[in-house]
């Protein structure tokens, strides 16, 4: 984005570096990034670093408050909460990333095509987006999960299919402005194919807003998955996800409040970190920002 329109003020410093410099100055966002990397790494390594297998029950032990043996306590079936939280993070983060990736692909392709085609095609494609916008999608995801059973792949696709609309609108707006610029006309004069112009010259130039919106989509997707699992419509025990743990915790909180508090704090902290990073990236990648 910034490369195409701005006059080069700081000669020789690539915009990427400038953006990173601006990002680094945002203390809360850097903290959030570190927290997120730690969370992601520990979730990824969950099978290795979990103190116990996350499905291991110990009915004699039952629910115990945090202790030296079980740092975050155990649930009513005697399962180690820390292990379940780590494994739950795998699912929650994986759903967040995969479903965002699905929405990213659909949204960017659709938006770029619509904006690049222009005219009547663009009009039609955007009318379709308008109509889809008005549909109650959360409701559809719930129906989908009930009707076709709770399967993880379907969850990715369903959530991804819901979240691409705004991305398509953002990309289309950017592309509309881009396509009239000289370098795109030059590419056309050079006889490049539409596919090549789209892939090599248009899409790379909308990357800034796309990155920002992607970072802000991940927390929404994680939230949607947790919401479904909380209602009992997403991930099912003995698998684990943060929403599922919060649901269990809410049912047990009168006797075992730690079962609610730890997953709740983990989920909220993750959402906070992702939102802070998204906001910071928006400021850092804004071409109008001071350098």
């Amino acid at each position: 984005m910034s490369t195409a329109t701005d006059t080069p003020i700081a000669q020789g410093t690539p915009p990427r570096v400038l953006a990173w410099r601006r990002f680094r100055r945002n203390r809360p966002a850097v903290g959030a990034l570190i927290l997120l990397v730690l969370l992601a790494a520990s979730s990824l390594l969950a099978p290795v670093i979990s103190p116990y297998p996350h499905t291991l029950q110990d009915l004699e032990l039952g629910a115990t408050p945090p202790s030296a043996a079980h740092w975050l306590g155990t649930d009513d079936l005697g399962r180690d909460l820390l292990s379940r939280l780590l494994h739950g993070g795998r699912i929650s983060l994986a759903v967040g990333l995969c479903a965002t990736f699905v929405s990213l692909c659909i949204g960017v392709a659709y938006g770029a095509l619509s904006g690049y085609a222009g005219g009547r095609t663009d009009n039609l494609m955007m009318r379709i987006v308008d109509i889809l916008y008005a549909l109650p999608f959360t409701v559809f995801v719930i129906i989908l999960m009930v009707v076709f059973g709770r399967n993880l792949l379907l969850l990715f696709v369903a959530i991804g299919a819901v979240e691409w609309l705004t991305m398509a609108r953002i990309v289309r707006g950017q592309v509309l402005a881009l396509r009239e610029q000289t370098f795109i006309r030059a590419a056309r004069v050079l006889g490049y194919s539409h596919a090549r112009i789209l892939a090599r010259h248009i899409v790379p130039n909308v990357i800034g807003p796309v990155i920002v919106y992607t970072t802000l989509t991940v927390p929404r997707v994680i939230l949607l998955e947790s919401f479904l699992s909380f209602l009992g419509l997403g991930i099912r025990a003995p698998m684990s996800s943060w929403g599922l743990l919060i649901g269990d915790g809410a049912r047990m909180m009168e006797s075992y409040p730690w079962m609610l508090i730890f997953p709740g704090v983990t989920l909220s902290a993750t959402l906070l970190a992702l939102n802070l990073i998204g906001d910071a990236l928006r400021d850092a990648l804004d071409p109008r920002a001071l350098r």
């Binding site: 008005a134 719930i142 009707v147 909380f230 009992g232 809410a250 609610l260 902290a269």
Partner: protein, 313 residues
Amino acid sequence: MVAIVPVMLKFLLRRLLSMIPVLLATVTLTFLLVRMAPGGPFTDEKQYPPQAIEQLNRHYGLDAPLHIQYVRYLGNLLRGDLGPSLKYPGRSVNDMIAETFPVSLELGLWALLVALVIGLAAGITAAIRPNSALDTVPMTLSMAGICIPAFVLGPLLVLVFALHAGMFNATGWYTPSDRVLPAITLGATYAAYIARLTRAGMLEVLPQDYIRTARAKGLGECRIVGIHALKPGIFPVISFLGPAVAGLISGSFVTETIFDIPGMGKMFVASAFNRDYTLVLGLVVFYSVLVVLFNTLVDLLLVVLNPRLRMHT
């Protein structure tokens, strides 16, 4: 004002016409989704004998070809008839919505009140002195509001204020005090968004020339902020309110489930679990109509409030 009326009528008419494809798409998609389900509504749980299932299917018209059922459903829909519930014999979907909607409506209005009062107050306070403590504290809180979802906040509120402090009942919908925790749970996220939108809107308006003029005329700060700046400052909030209000009053799945409130949201989750297809379909249709209606209302309100928009309508 005279000139506005025909413009408004045209605008309204166009919006109402644009409702048709949206509603048709919603009905069709939901209808197909629900009918594509493996197994009928009577095949699971209880083991009915095959003749009974056949009879049930015939009774509810489920034995007809799909397109006939679809046309029949649309026909009934045009007459405002959402059909019978499949799992509660003898009860119509219309009755069940009529019973649960007022509950959700009341909860939604309380939550809206919470959201507007807290959100506007926090947003305006933050915008008056940007980057001071009066700005950072409410904005940090609103970030927290966005990041603590209702299904975490609700149980936490119950834990602290109902189970430990004993100030409220943990669940139920009987006494006036039963409205407090659900309204906060449902309204908190909206309050957080409204606070951020209000702050952004006000920050855009406050440096403008006409505000300086108002100051130069010696108007009181309250009058400037509360009247001159607020009106254009809350346009973003108003456009946010369209879908928000529809979501609030049509029943929150999570809040109603947590507090065991007999509203539309809880009924929707239950009907989806029960595979009560006509009830699911009826609720989705009702919900979509609400969303479209509120979006139209809000757009109308924006045109009334903002003269600059009248040119384009």
